[in-house]
Amino acid sequence: MADKLLSGRRVLVVEDETLILMMIEGMLTDLGCESVTAAATVDKALALIDTQVFDAAMLDMNMNGNTSHSVAEALVARGVPFVYCTGNDGHEITGANHDWPVLKKPFKDEQLAEILRRLLSPD
């Protein structure tokens, strides 16, 4: 199941619900990612982006009621491609940076892999 494009990659997962996070970590590990780092809060995510290098990120849009715009901005500033993750309807996603793909919860591991492949493929 490991994927050539994803193996050895370092991925940041910004998700505040433990059970959902554990599943995403499992999916990414199955895909061959080298390391998966998790943040449950905007502050922790910003601190991690400041100190570590990531190849890609998954970003929950709504962190316990707080929007994650500042995290998206920090990722853009560092050139880290990312995918938004949300429980909201597509058309309810307002103010999000539309340059980036959106995964709607719940999602399948194939969908996650497909999006990450697109984010990481050199075009």
Binding site: T18, I20, G26, A40, N62, G87, E92, K104, K105
Partner: protein
């Protein structure tokens, strides 16, 4: 008092009607129209006599109402009742003579103008919703109902308009939209959580029976936490209730003692703690103090002040169960407990598999502590 009011109101009406029938005119007009004028004044008098009580009712009702002149361009207002004045914040002399649409918050709003036009032409059903602006600048939604008023010759002379304040209705509408969005968000997250529960069970449990048990146990735990939070209007839940409700369905729950304040946790933290205590109890029933007939569990917690905030220190102590063996590998239950505490609650947890009984110690920082009610 009522009669004073009625008299004053009638006078106002009479003046207004005279104004309407007798517009500013040149000297020649006045002489030319004197007969017409007399007829008109008589008409007003008749109108007042016939409809006097209704006009008084219009003046004193709590529903905002105006009469507008149908014979002039822009339908200037010729009558406004007290309710209209209190709804809009204007004095009577400030509104009389103004165009009917002077209150519109966005005067160029073509759609709203079309709705008002339809209301004037009687082609709208149930009135038009229009956003108006008060004298103080604040805006409000109103439901506008317009009826034409004809004179004795069947000529359209006035429009009678009433306004229903839709502020509360609009607020409720917005609130229910927010609630539906919030509900959808929660449902989707819950479905993802269920997906995770199934996903983990398929990976760690072997055999359909064990997989089913692993899934059901966690779904029921989630369900009980939802019940508790629903009873609390999804505002918060008390720790005592969270622990009690998580453990209550387990066999041997009578041998569990819970001691501690009902410290409040936000819904998300309450859900996380519900899962944690479900995992601990599942372990106790399978391998620990609840797996025989003698064992018992003591759960107690205290709040400890720290330089930055307050810290919750919780101890789960099992005793008199069968001898405890340190698990050969870290199971999903232990990982959920550890991750929930560190990731979601920003705390720490220590699982000590002592031979005489599992001891679990949790430390959770309480940044915004709210004491039990």
């Amino acid at each position: 008092m009522g009669s004073d009011r009625a008299e004053r109101s009638s006078i106002v009406i009479l003046d207004l009607y005279v104004n309407q029938i007798d517009p500013p005119a040149s000297m020649s007009d006045i002489t030319k129209k004197s007969e017409e004028q007399e007829a008109a004044e008589a008409e007003v008098e008749r109108f007042r006599k016939n409809l006097g009580p209704f006009v008084v009712a219009a003046e004193t009702t709590r529903m905002a109402m105006v009469f507008a002149d149908a014979t002039e361009p822009h339908n200037p207002l010729i009558f406004a009742n007290d309710a209209f004045l209190s709804l809009t914040g204007y004095d009577r002399e400030e509104v009389l003579g103004k165009s009917f649409n002077f209150l519109m918050a966005h005067g160029a709003d073509a759609e709203a103008l079309a709705r008002i036009k339809n209301a004037f032409e009687g082609t709208s059903n149930g009135g038009a919703e229009v956003l108006y602006r008060r004298k103080d600048g604040s805006e409000f939604w109103t439901g506008l109902f317009i009826s034409p008023v004809y004179d004795g010759h069947g000529n359209l002379v006035q429009y009678f308009a009433s306004f229903v304040d839709l502020t509360l209705y609009k607020e409720n509408e917005a609130k229910s939209k927010r609630l539906i969005d919030e509900l959808n968000h929660r449902v989707k997250n819950t479905l993802a959580t269920v997906q995770s529960i199934v996903w983990q069970a398929m990976r760690t449990a072997s055999g359909p029976q064990l997989i089913r048990e692993a899934i059901e146990s966690r779904l029921f735990a989630l369900s009980r936490s939802h019940d508790l939070l629903t009873r609390e209007n999804w505002e918060s839940a008390g720790l005592f209730d969270i622990v009690h409700d998580a453990l209550e369905p387990f066999e041997g729950a009578k041998r569990i003692v819970i001691k501690g304040e009902n410290i409040r946790f936000a819904p998300k933290s309450a859900l996380a703690l519900g899962i944690v205590f479900n995992e601990l109890a599942t372990n106790a029933v399978k391998y620990g103090a609840l797996s025989n007939d003698e064992g018992s569990i003591l759960i107690e917690w205290t709040m400890e002040p720290t330089p930055e905030n307050t810290r919750l220190s919780l101890h789960w102590q099992e005793k008199d169960g069968p001898p405890v063996l340190t698990p050969s590998r870290i199971g999903f239950g232990s990982r959920v407990i550890e991750r929930s505490l560190s990731h979601e609650l920003e705390g720490t947890v220590n699982l000590d598999f002592r031979p005489d009984g599992l001891a679990c110690t949790m430390t959770i920082p309480m940044p915004r502590v709210t004491r039990g009610r």
